[in-house]
Each structure stands twice: as C-alpha cells, then as structure tokens.
C-alpha cells in the first residue's frame, strides 16, 4: 500500500513537472527605460497629489489622475504638464468623496468611480458633469466601493465592485446588463502554489479591470493575488499569478492595463513593482522595488498605457506619477 502511494506521488510530481515545463513561457527580450520620467509631489496645488489612486489616458495622450485624498481629478499632457482639475469634496453632482477609478470612452468622455459615494459619474474631457448612476447596496446597479472601470469596443462599461466581490456590466448610459462573481477566499498556501481550482470566476476584493485583445477582460483579484481573464459576457477563460515574490507572482495585484499588442502591465502593490505579461498570462519582465528613487515605488495602485505605448504608473505612496518606455529588442 505504501509503495503504491509512493508510486502515485512520483507520478503526480512527474505530471506536475511536465505541466510546468510545457506551460512555461518563452521570454521575449525587453528593455524598460530607467530612469523614468515622473511628476508630482505631495500637496494640494495644481500638479501635486495626495494619494494618486487611479490613472487613465485618452486617445490623444492626455492623462487623467484620480487624486483620491484631494477629492479631485487632474488632467495633464502626456508628459505631465498640468492642464486642468475638477471635483472638490462633496456629494453634489460633479463632486467627489474618494475618486477611485477612471475610464475614457471613444468620444473622450471620462467616467469616474467614487469609492465612498458608491456611484459612477460621467464628465466631458474638460470636466463638465454629464450624468451619474449608482447608490450604496448589493443589488444590481448598486455598489459597495467601486474601484476599477474599463470600456470595451462595444461601448460596455465594466465596474469592479470591490466590496461586493463582483464585476458589473453596464451600457454607457448606466443601464445594468449583468454581473458575475462572488466572495471566495483562496488560502495563502493554495495561492502560493497557484492552485485555484474551484475558485474560478469568484473574487476576494477585485480591484482593477482592463480590456485586452478581442474584448477579453482582465480582473485583478487582489487578495487572491491573481489576475483572471473573462469574456465580455463574464465567462471565465484563464488566470495567472498566485502569491509570490518572484516574477509572475503577486502580493496584492492592483492596477492593470493592456497595450495595443495585448501585453499586460500589472501593478503589484506590496512587491512595489510593475510586471508585464503576454495576453495569455506568460510573465515577460518586471521593474520597480520599494523606494523613493527613480523607477522605485511605494505601493503602485494603477497603470495606464498611452497611445504611443508609454506606461504610466500611479505611485500612490510617493504621491507621484511615473512613466516608462518599453523597448522590444
């Protein structure tokens, strides 16, 4: 009996090894520009930040930052020159308590999630209030701390409803279409072993979301330390990550963005780095590390990619935005 168990274990490890070898990803030579460009410092003046939490870039390259503790959105040129700001603390239309997520539609309108007021507001590109939807709760169309927004080519907007542990899908007028996901914790050990069987499609505090190639959705499932890929209808496709310090692992996956080729950039909050993956979740490269120097981070919370491929990182704890250029050799 003992021999049979030993044999079974050997077979199991052999299968595991073969699986790991054949699913390993080929590394593509990449070069990330260091030192990067950056702008911002802690404060409340134009171009300063108090916890820049979310970031988005429109088709013309203008950059929008959710300046969370200053209760505003700031707009910049692609190289960080201040253009305008809007918001201010309050519950009236156009005001914010905690702007937490950003997305830009094809017409250049800006959608802003508010973590505390549980609503989504829509603005023109120069900050004129257009409309809003949402309230606090668990029902369809309600939110409990929305943080991530993404818009696909079919003009659907997806919201990571963080404390309701789900994703909600709306049209751009805020009409509810569908939702998926529920609360499910994957243990630290299972997450470390990248063993997520039975937890597909559920979440443990989903934070950010992005649209990749063919309208695939990628959701940062923050406290399960992974990224999940879904169809536009919410059907689970695949996942990658798992708790870890080495490349490919996460300690609280947060901001996520896709470039034109479908490659993904994922902010890894507690590893203080950004990691790059293929659309299939193969690890490509990473950069960062904890600190205040150029190219270092203190808790990155969001990532965006500009029309020229420049990568923008909301460096939350350092109260600044950093930008990087990726060169493919």
């Amino acid at each position: 009996m003992a021999n049979r168990e030993k044999s079974a274990m050997k077979n199991y490890f052999a299968i595991l090894l073969v699986t790991v070898v054949f699913t390993a990803c080929a590394h593509v030579p990449l070069n990330v520009s260091v030192p990067p460009e950056s702008w911002g410092s802690q404060g409340a003046g134009p171009g300063q930040f108090n916890e820049p939490f979310a970031i988005a870039v429109d088709a013309s390259g203008s950059v929008y930052v959710a300046d969370a503790r200053n209760h505003r959105v700031q707009k910049f040129t692609d190289d960080g020159k201040f253009i305008s700001e809007w918001g201010g603390q309050g519950k009236e239309p156009g005001q914010f308590e905690r702007p937490s997520g950003l997305a830009v539609d094809v017409e250049g309108n800006i959608f802003v999630a508010d973590y505390e007021l549980d609503r989504i507001q829509k603005f023109t590109s120069d900050g004129k209030f257009l409309m809003q939807w949402g309230s606090s709760g668990k029902n369809a169309g309600q939110f409990n701390s929305p943080t991530g927004l993404a818009i696909d080519s079919q003009q659907n907007i997806f919201v990571t409803d963080t404390y309701n542990h789900r994703v909600q899908k709306f049209d751009l007028q805020g009409n509810f279409i569908k939702e998926w996901g529920e609360y499910q914790v994957v243990s630290i050990v299972k997450s470390f072993l990248n063993f997520f069987v039975g937890a597909e499609g559920n979440f443990n505090y989903p934070t950010r979301i992005t649209v990749g190639l063919n309208n695939a959705l990628y959701v940062s499932d923050a406290y399960n330390n992974r990224v999940q890929r879904f169809s536009s209808e919410g059907d689970f496709i695949s996942q990658f990550g798992g708790l870890g310090f080495l490349g490919g692992g996460f300690r609280v996956s947060s901001g996520i963005a896709s470039d034109k080729s479908g490659d993904l950039y994922v902010a890894d909050f507690y590893n203080h780095r950004v990691q790059m993956f293929t659309a299939d979740g193969c690890f490509l490269t990473q950069w960062g590390g904890k600190g205040q120097g150029a190219g270092q981070f203190d808790g990155p919370t969001d990532v965006a990619v500009g029309p020229q491929g420049k990568v923008y990182v909301a460096d939350w704890g350092n109260h600044q935005i950093q930008t990087f250029k990726i060169k493919r050799d």
Partner: protein, 107 residues
C-alpha cells in the same frame, strides 16, 4: 461693599464655569485601533468609509504600514467599542486592539 463682593464672586463663578464649558467643548475622544489585514488603500479606504459612519466621528488617520488607525470623535458623544468593532468588521477586518488616547475612556 457686600454687594460688590457678591458680584465679584458671581463673576468668578461665571468665568470658572464658562472656562470649564469651553475646555469640555474642545476636548475630543481619540482612540487608536490595531487592525488585522490592513494592507493597502483598496481596503484601508474601506475602513475609513465605515468608521465615518460612527456617530460622533470627527477624523481618522490610517497607517497601513503599522496596521493602525487613530480615530477622533466629537466630545460629548458616547462612543461604544461595539460601534468601532462593527465598523472594522463591516470593512472586512478583524479588530486586534483598542486603546483610548484621550477622553473619558482614556482615564
């Protein structure tokens, strides 16, 4: 003479009690809580959101590196530790400890 003494005494009493009243209004209740699992802004903002709902809330400073939150409440409002516990649990955390820094409960 006697009348002047009484007026002076009344003035002194008035100053004394008005002073006491002012200091009572200025006094706030501060509590430091230790929270298990307070790691990042995606959840620390959630703790802030829940703590703000406690009656008498004035301000909060969260330190995610230490896993602590210092909450200030208005004076004259009875703050129960159960309300704090509920806020912490509603935010998805476990309360590890409560230490009153100022106010009646600190004495």
């Amino acid at each position: 003479m006697k009348k002047n003494l009484i007026v002076a005494l009344l003035c002194l009493l008035l100053i004394y009690f008005s002073g006491a009243d002012v200091s009572a209004k200025d006094a706030t209740q501060k509590v430091m809580i230790k929270v298990e699992g307070l790691y990042c802004p995606f959840c620390s903002y959630g703790l802030e959101k829940q703590v703000k709902k406690i009656e008498g809330f004035k301000s909060v400073q969260i330190n995610i590196k230490e896993g602590t939150a210092e909450i200030e409440f208005k004076s004259g409002v009875e703050i129960s530790e159960k309300a704090i516990l509920t806020a912490v649990e509603d935010a998805g955390f476990d309360l590890d400890g409560v230490k009153w820094l100022t106010g009646k409960k600190a004495q």
